[in-house]
């Protein structure tokens, strides 16, 4: 299955792009996207990656849609 991944915040700088389309096995979960990205981009390995699918906040065990947004939780003020 093809999934469009949208990047936010420092993930844009880490990946060098605002989005990309990746190919995963059918039935893949959010967790599979996170693992794929951490493997492809070593700088993401130390990051906690938050995700939303179709505009809804999801966790790693949730199913994927055709698009997913990934972003860091931030804490500065």
């Amino acid at each position: 299955m093809k999934v469009k991944v949208h990047y936010f915040g420092r993930f844009v700088e880490i990946t060098g792009k605002t989005y990309e389309i990746i190919e995963l096995d059918d039935g893949a979960l959010v967790r599979d996207v996170v693992e794929y990205l951490k493997k492809k981009y070593p700088l993401l390995q130390k990051e906690h990656i938050e995700t939303s699918v179709n505009g809804k906040y999801v966790s790693e065990n949730d199913p994927l849609g055709s698009e997913i947004s990934v972003f860091p939780i931030i804490s500065g003020g």
Binding site: H6, S52, G55
Partner: protein
């Protein structure tokens, strides 16, 4: 000839003339807003709410002004280095709008005695303090506007006892690091937080309840996440 009193009345009337149709000035005047942290976010938020005419601003901060604050903390200048932030902030805000009552509280958010307030706005710089503030607000059954900023990115959400809790949004406690922040990004996020407070006080608009608004200035886009 105008007396000083009549001058004051004219000033009061004209001060809010350009927001007359947008807000309920009486509700703003009666409101008491807690601003937790008067640094980057909190300084901008305090400035916005003072200009809008919030009746009472309660400022809580434990720190003194440091030179590294000056790239983004709008209430402070080089002359203020080493002074207590809440003291300097109170003085500046009274100049911005003398009609606003400022209450300065020096200390950690969970170790000070707080007066009553109607809503709290997040100007904090770490997750643990945010969890403490959220607990205080939930215990008092008052809303808490969550906001955070880092780099070119920020996020805001409106939390109360009817919404998802902050711990559901922030599932892991992040390591404290020296965060890189630009004042321009801070201003965007603080403006969103201040506007949520004004909307709540004036019973206007649609609040960011169970919604996380993410701003990514680097890519020039907003994203809403349903929580």
């Amino acid at each position: 000839m105008l007396t000083p009193y009549s001058n004051l009345m004219i000033s009061n009337t004209n001060r809010y003339a350009r927001q007359r149709d947008l807000v309920d000035q009486n509700l703003l005047k009666k409101s008491r807003v807690l601003i937790a942290g008067v640094g980057g976010l909190g300084g901008h938020i305090a400035q916005e709410l003072a200009m809008a005419g919030v009746g009472t601003l309660i400022l809580v901060d434990k720190d003194r002004v440091d030179e590294t604050n000056l790239n983004r903390q709008v209430l402070y200048t080089s002359d203020d280095i080493a002074k207590w932030k809440v003291d300097v902030a109170a003085e500046k805000l009274r100049k911005i709008n003398p009609e606003v009552q400022i209450v300065s509280v020096r200390g950690e958010i969970d170790s000070v005695t707080l007066p009553e307030f109607d809503i709290a706005v997040d100007g904090l710089d770490n997750i643990d303090s945010r969890f403490k503030l959220e607990k205080i607000c939930r215990d008092r059954d008052v809303p808490y506007i969550f906001g955070a900023v880092e780099g070119f990115m920020g996020m805001v959400s409106f939390l109360d006892n009817t919404t998802i809790s902050l711990e559901k949004i922030i599932k892991r406690r992040l390591q404290l690091t020296e965060v890189q922040v630009l004042s321009a990004t801070v201003a965007v996020v603080a403006g969103m937080e201040a506007l949520e407070a004004i909307k709540y006080i004036c019973k206007k608009g649609i609040l960011l309840k169970n919604r996380l608004m993410i701003y990514d200035g680097y890519s020039g886009k907003f994203m809403e996440v349903r929580l």
